[in-house]
Symmetry: D2
Amino acid sequence: MIFASDNWAGVHQAISERLAQEAGGFSVAYGDSQLDKAIEQRFNQLFEKEVAVFFVATGTAANALALASVNRPGGVVFCHREAHMIEDECGAPEFFTHGARLVPVDGLLGRIDPVALESEINRFPADFIHAGQPMAISITQSTEIGTVYQPDQILEISAIAKRQGLPLHMDGARFANALVALDLSPAQMTWKLGVDIISFGATKNGCWCAEALVFTNPDMAGDLPYIRKRAAQLFSKTRFIASQFDAYLNDDLWLELAAHANLMAQRLADGIQQSSQAHLAWKPETNEVFCVIKQSLSSDLREQGAVFHEWNLPHTCLAEISEDEVLIRLVTSFASETRQIDRFIELLK
Amino acid sequence: MIFASDNWAGVHQAISERLAQEAGGFSVAYGDSQLDKAIEQRFNQLFEKEVAVFFVATGTAANALALASVNRPGGVVFCHREAHMIEDECGAPEFFTHGARLVPVDGLLGRIDPVALESEINRFPADFIHAGQPMAISITQSTEIGTVYQPDQILEISAIAKRQGLPLHMDGARFANALVALDLSPAQMTWKLGVDIISFGATKNGCWCAEALVFTNPDMAGDLPYIRKRAAQLFSKTRFIASQFDAYLNDDLWLELAAHANLMAQRLADGIQQSSQAHLAWKPETNEVFCVIKQSLSSDLREQGAVFHEWNLPHTCLAEISEDEVLIRLVTSFASETRQIDRFIELLK
Amino acid sequence: MIFASDNWAGVHQAISERLAQEAGGFSVAYGDSQLDKAIEQRFNQLFEKEVAVFFVATGTAANALALASVNRPGGVVFCHREAHMIEDECGAPEFFTHGARLVPVDGLLGRIDPVALESEINRFPADFIHAGQPMAISITQSTEIGTVYQPDQILEISAIAKRQGLPLHMDGARFANALVALDLSPAQMTWKLGVDIISFGATKNGCWCAEALVFTNPDMAGDLPYIRKRAAQLFSKTRFIASQFDAYLNDDLWLELAAHANLMAQRLADGIQQSSQAHLAWKPETNEVFCVIKQSLSSDLREQGAVFHEWNLPHTCLAEISEDEVLIRLVTSFASETRQIDRFIELLK
Amino acid sequence: MIFASDNWAGVHQAISERLAQEAGGFSVAYGDSQLDKAIEQRFNQLFEKEVAVFFVATGTAANALALASVNRPGGVVFCHREAHMIEDECGAPEFFTHGARLVPVDGLLGRIDPVALESEINRFPADFIHAGQPMAISITQSTEIGTVYQPDQILEISAIAKRQGLPLHMDGARFANALVALDLSPAQMTWKLGVDIISFGATKNGCWCAEALVFTNPDMAGDLPYIRKRAAQLFSKTRFIASQFDAYLNDDLWLELAAHANLMAQRLADGIQQSSQAHLAWKPETNEVFCVIKQSLSSDLREQGAVFHEWNLPHTCLAEISEDEVLIRLVTSFASETRQIDRFIELLK
């Protein structure tokens, strides 16, 4: 009953086998192999347009290099108050941008509120150099708390981005989970809604280590080869990432894996809704379920072998928690098994 | 006949299998799994003392974070004029140190000359703030051109480091090749000679992506967990690195692989010495062979399927090259095959 | 009727004359002249202990280098939500610390609330590397809105700093105004209350360009000479700063100038309190007066020649403003004249 | 007999008086005063075209911000091996560019050799990301050793810059001295020869602290307001710099002062040429004289009150020095007096 995080899972068998298959032989290093080029082409198909794509080591790297690519002196980035980049990356975005500032924006259920966003941006008037200058907006899809932006919500934010002349980044550490939840294509969830740069995560959804930074407008990525190399993110044996992506994208495996994770979360949520001992903090939309239980039950569950994190109540959610209760986060993944879900639900009865 | 670089090889079968074996199940993320801890312990045994060890994505990351860990404002690092960190890392050391300067030091055959080293360091007198302040010395073992520092040569440099109060770093992208060539233990080649920090590379010697940053004095590494995380170098599924190291270090596989690579280089060198069409630029000591051939022969070899790089004549070597000749670099690896070597030698006849 | 800022004033005559007197002759450059040394000694007397003092160009430089001197990777600085360093320095603190994060802390009337402070610090638990690590606390004395921390309030914050192992910085852009308001000595307002580093500003209080960074524990400043030089903040003709400080500190001129500015502010405040057209937003304690007036009156005052800024209502103040009102900031200085104050008050009647 | 450096002098009386005259009254802060704007206009006239001009605190700041304005990831700057920015700025250029590398280029008598320059640039082939990417060329006029580039020599370098697509920066810490020596106008010595950015120094030539960063193409300076502010180089009371420049540029005072300094150097050089105890290391062209004397004479001169620095023999000069000799540097300034020169020459007899 491992619900700590989707990155506690290992790697899907098809991906593991594809990687093993690549073990022999020789290949050009540093991203110039045929396989690398073929996978880059695959991203063009995936996004239904020519994109620039860069493999990097971690989701944090993808986010940080995305911001580095649009960096400005005294730059200010707007993201949700609970965004991974502001809460969990140890200052990597600031480091890779040489000191850009991340400004937290409020918004219910993990989504940036457009009014709050514009209000924050307006605190940095053009040419008032003392405050710095806006340089990017970043949204997380799916969000840190398992919700998704609906297409029109993304559109509303990208309209602000356009009006303010700012690029729009999407932290897609759980891109596939959102895609499946919304039943959209990558193009429909990104550039067709005005998203410029995507951190396209695959690690959490069945790979060992496969993250791609995608620019929907390749012209924006002119300096990225240098930015990535200088950031120590250019692998020599890039085949080991390319081959993971190969299996990941093949036959829509990635969507299948995300669909499974989401389904498992739904099964969890259904069980919780029927339990008198727990209630959902909010409706889960992808593969993360947040629910409120008694502190004592939390301890019991752990003794029974369940692994999960207690969570701080987000600033911007409507759930209420009494003194003897805790909010817990349950994350499912491609590797979650029905019987583990059911066993957990059993414990809630 | 692939001699372009040892990072053109894939991954050794035992390592590939060990990785595949780790695919299932769940495990704590971000370096806290049992396997991670066990492999860290293994490094203690390997170095015969308690060390601090950090897995990172690339050799460039290992070098850059090593320097970041001993960073000083206005800092100056002394390395060989042809060191990887100064020639091939796109400014990563400067970036991760927020602008430290790498000062190239001369020295024959890829090895820092101790007299030149001390002379360069003395250009930065204590308290003369205008020039900056020395912060580290870095040597490469084996060197960029396939030679090795003998133990007494390392000792001579570490004596200077001690006298000047500077930490000594070893870029060990090809650590195993040097170890085997010198028939020393890791302890004998490092801290017993005064080396403080090691970039312990395994990627070039049979792994997909496995680099470790080793501090022989763990007290020096207090901030490294933050430095690594902020550098976007902390993998979530660190098992995929730990398991590679597991197989790599098991039953001395790593030494066996390096010994094979070195042997293949020796076989190449022997063939070259017997050829009238080529001559060794200098005696190879590990897995890199540099030889001088006619430009026309270089083209012929390529047409016959040989893959290798032409190389700039190092500033500090004694070889001579005429107008119609080129210096070529031939790198062998764990995956090099005798018959490919022999076929190449055949072409030289 | 210039109340825009205290940095709109020029320079006090005694300081100007002292500077002119220094014009002739020759002197050692880069901070090593006898005058520099003598003024450094003067700071020892001023603070009643041996301090390390560094002249820099701007208050922003003083603040940024203060933080750079205690920098840590993934570092987090806690300051008031309206602090100058977070609102008005265009990311300089982040830049000079290579990406440290400034976390805004709430607190009424410009002063950090100790409970809010500790609560924010506790969001960064020891060894939870994902969030980064606390590195300093900064308070502003007098505050951005003209109030002061009472000694026991500073003590309360320094107790937190000690408990958390963090250095305490004081942004003293208006150090003298606070000192005079509280009738304390520099020692009493700083290290005796646990303050470690002070941005000692003199520019706003009668100098052209004279800012000093003071370390009450000189051991903390070991690398500062390099940090300052690398930051392009070491003047060659440092005499021009030293001589300003000479006149500034002589015969307590600085306290006299600050007392005048504070008195002028008090006169303004008294006038406002007697006006039916304006009311104080809060009680001014130094040389900044904030009051609420009708928007139409604001325009009228400007037409009559008054110069001042309208101000955003601080997040953490209790004043209320109706739709047709504005908050305005009136700053007095050493150069403010009674008749200008009185003329302004006359316009309020 | 102060020949240590031109920054050991104080400030010219006319400049001092102009500054004092500015002491009273009030003025807009942060560079927006009428005087600031007027002086900016003056630079347009001076350069005979619209330029963008930014006052900063030090020559190091001017150089570092010049490079920051053309910064690229993995960027490489080419400057003379003895340039101030590479020898005497404690890593400020690297810091302000977040880690760009300065590559030293050889060249006789302080001037970059065009052949060596192109050869160094060619070590960074387009799209070979491992080495980094060229981003600027910087020349020093007059050079660190008192020589000047002739117009055709600058043209030769700017032709390379254009061919390589690189901006050309001129470190003009002693801009006026070069201008007078060559009898050129600012336009003739800069943009008409292809120079893009100038560090226009006035401190060494009679000001307290007055450095300007000049962009001959204002479009290149779009982000500079933010870069300068973030670098803590935007003074609040900018009048104190503007007024210095006012007096400095008025009635060609600056050229007069530089002419005096150069003349004094010539007088020194003439005396040395007639002395049997000293010989010129090379022909001085501006206000720095380098000569070779016996070590014992150096000590004697100092005992007699002469102040000067012994100097390392530049890598790229043709002078020869025997064991018991030293190279000394004698710098004259606007404040040098004929009788001091003559007294020094007397001592050489």
